[in-house]
């Protein structure tokens, strides 16, 4: 009898993971009623839900593709093997893969949403999906001509559901997409030089290492020049330092803008969800990318020496500044129709304190993986507990806000946020 080849534990884990993923992704199609009941309960599906999901997906895919991270090349390959004229073809293949992955995911989400929530206007949805997908490919093939317009497209797409897909507003994203996609320009595949290709390779390597080790803080955007020369020359230097860190990362502003529109859209789509959750989660995600300087100073001892204050004072100052930033973000939400209330104010505080708790946590300890087998898949519970340091405060606080009345929850949440901000963080 022929013996079957031995399968390694890693391969078995991977196979089980793939089977579980395929099962989960297929659930909207083979267990439609069950998934719908989980999402909506007994409530009817919101009108225009699927076009809204499509717009959010298209905006994210466009934003991601048009950063042109696919145009990278290994410096070793450029040095030793780039003599056959294969470079443009290589970059075009990488573009096609990046484009197909992103818009394939959008297609899946739209299909799943259509099956679960219905799609009242299939021609409009199909036309929007096809046009944006093709124009994104056309635009990504070329070096950026109108970068500000490229950045505006996702904002316009996400704002579209807020207008109720009114015909008067449809032309705006349509023209922006067409301009970006159809304007003539130089081919990125032939235009990209060694410096650009190697820079993106380095960024990609850092991203892959960060994701492999689940060290997501390394993905926070790096700072750029702070043009305010006297930014740190004055009273309240700690608050000034945090503000300078925000200004150095102004590139994260479009993401905060996208998030404010996405949250306003989701609130309209799922009005039964307490707005406090949208404000807390959205504020957390919007503020996090601006706190790279705070993360750096806690991870690099050589930078910490430039600041002659206690960690507690630094965290308190950072929380104060972030509360102001998230409050402004929430105020924009209010303009877009998300109701603000006392619990919403507490959610703003929680989001800010959770961000500070996240970026000032101890470095990950990979000796404490705490592997536990869950349905045959090894899950690093110890690592996940470390990663939850920060979001845990947000989730716990929001749960308390929902479970207790604001009168009871307010002092508890205030105490939690204060303790999380001022207590030294233990090493894992």
């Amino acid at each position: 009898m022929r013996r079957l080849p031995r399968i390694s534990e890693d391969t078995a884990t991977r196979v089980v993971g793939i089977v579980l993923a395929v099962g989960a992704l297929g659930a909207p199609f083979h267990s439609t009623d069950v998934v719908r009941a989980h999402l909506l309960g007994g409530a009817p599906a919101p009108a225009l839900a699927t076009p809204t999901v499509l717009c959010v997906g298209l905006a994210l895919a466009w934003h991601s593709l048009l950063r042109r991270n696919f145009a990278w090349a290994d410096p070793a390959w450029l040095t030793w093997a780039d003599f056959t004229g294969a470079r443009p073809g290589l970059i075009r293949r990488r573009l096609l893969v990046a484009w197909a992955c992103r818009f394939g995911a959008v297609g899946y989400a739209t299909l799943a949403s259509g099956v679960l929530l219905g799609c009242p206007d299939i021609p409009l949805t199909a036309a929007l999906c096809t046009a944006v997908t093709l124009l994104a490919l056309a635009a990504a093939r070329r070096s950026p001509r109108l970068p500000w317009l490229e950045h505006a497209v996702p904002v316009l797409l996400i704002a579209l559901p807020l207008t109720g897909f009114a015909a008067d507003w449809l032309w705006l994203p349509a023209i922006a997409c067409a301009l970006v996609g159809l304007l003539p320009g130089r081919s990125l595949a032939t235009d990209a030089g060694r410096a650009d290709l190697v820079r993106r390779f380095t960024e990609r390597s850092l991203r892959r290492a960060s994701v492999s080790f689940l060290d997501l803080l390394a993905l926070l955007p790096a700072g750029r020049e702070v043009r305010w020369a006297r930014a740190l020359d004055g009273r309240g230097v700690l608050a000034r330092f945090v503000v300078a860190g925000l200004l150095a990362r102004h590139r994260a502003l479009p993401l905060a803008g996208l998030l404010v529109l996405a949250v306003a859209t989701l609130h309209r789509l799922f009005p039964s969800v307490d707005p406090v959750w949208w404000i807390g989660a959205g504020g957390y995600l919007a503020a996090l990318p601006f706190t790279g300087a705070l993360a750096q100073i806690h991870q690099v001892p050589g930078l910490r020496r430039w600041v002659g204050c206690s960690d507690r004072a630094l965290r308190a100052s950072a929380t104060g500044v972030l509360v102001a930033v998230v409050a402004v973000w929430a105020a924009v939400l209010a303009v877009l129709g998300v109701p603000l209330s006392w619990p919403a104010g507490l959610a703003v505080l929680l989001a800010s304190a959770a961000v500070v708790r996240t970026v000032t946590r101890a470095p990950l300890n990979y000796a404490n993986l705490g592997l536990v087998s869950v349905v045959g898949v090894l899950v690093p519970v110890g690592l996940l507990v470390q990663l939850a340091h920060g979001p845990d405060l947000l989730v716990l606080g929001l749960l308390l806000l929902g479970a207790l009345g604001v009168g009871v929850a307010a002092p508890v949440v205030l105490g939690l946020a204060t303790a999380a901000t001022l207590t030294p963080h233990p090493t894992h």
């Binding site: 790096a222 700072g223 750029r224 020049e225 702070v226 020369a229 006297r230 930014a231 740190l232 020359d233 004055g234 230097v237 700690l238 000034r240 330092f241 300078a244 150095a248 300087a293 750096q296 690099v300 001892p301 050589g302 930078l303 020496r305 430039w306 600041v307 002659g308 204050c309 206690s310 960690d311």
Partner: protein
């Protein structure tokens, strides 16, 4: 003050039985080949590495860089010293001098003394290695402190820079600071050191 200090690495002693006392206004120079233990001793003095045996006392306390009070008393330029790439030299000094209590130095005069006045508003990512080193040295010396630990401070400095460095250390000694510096620059050692510990 260091007494009977020893550090074991990979089953062998990097150094053992080391004794060293540096009073206020004195400078001890650590010399010797790469890997002999100079930087390790500085890390022990700053409390980022534990010695295998012996005792260390800096400013009357056990070194612990996690303590704010200790960090304020002991200033260092070590291998891991770093700069914020997005900030300018002027912004670095503003941050330093505004956040340390009792720091009274004038950032403009400091930058001029280091020959960085014409680069005061340039992000440090665009400075040369020597200019970055000068700024790191300013960062280590511009704020109040009682002890100064320097690990090969002459690295990346040109001839004029090394002369400026020697003057900087002399000014520290005149101000009553206890200085311990590892160095491969004999001229600096000859000019500032009151005692020399030769590692082998």
């Amino acid at each position: 003050m260091v007494a009977d200090l020893g550090v074991e690495v990979d089953g062998g002693w990097l150094f053992r039985g080391l004794a060293l006392t540096v009073a206020a206004g004195e400078c001890a120079a650590l010399t010797g080949p790469n890997g002999a233990g100079k930087s390790t001793l500085l890390r022990c003095l700053y409390g980022v590495q534990d010695a295998t045996e012996g005792s260390v006392s800096v400013c009357g306390q056990r070194p612990d860089e996690r303590s704010t009070a200790f960090r304020r008393a002991v200033s260092v330029l070590l291998d891991d010293s770093a700069l914020f790439d997005e900030l300018t030299p002027r912004q670095h000094l503003d941050l330093l001098l505004r956040s340390f209590p009792d720091a009274v130095a004038d950032p403009v005069a400091l930058l001029a003394s280091a020959g960085l006045d014409h680069r005061a508003s340039v992000p440090v990512a665009r400075l040369s290695a020597g200019q970055r080193r000068r700024l790191l040295l300013l960062g280590a010396t511009a704020r109040p402190h009682q002890v100064l630990l320097l690990d090969e401070p002459e690295r990346a400095l040109d001839t004029a820079g090394r002369d400026w460095l020697a003057g900087l250390v002399e000014a520290e000694l005149a101000g009553g600071t206890a200085v311990v510096t590892a160095s491969h620059h004999p001229a600096l050692v000859d000019r500032v050191a009151d005692s020399v510990v030769e590692f082998s």
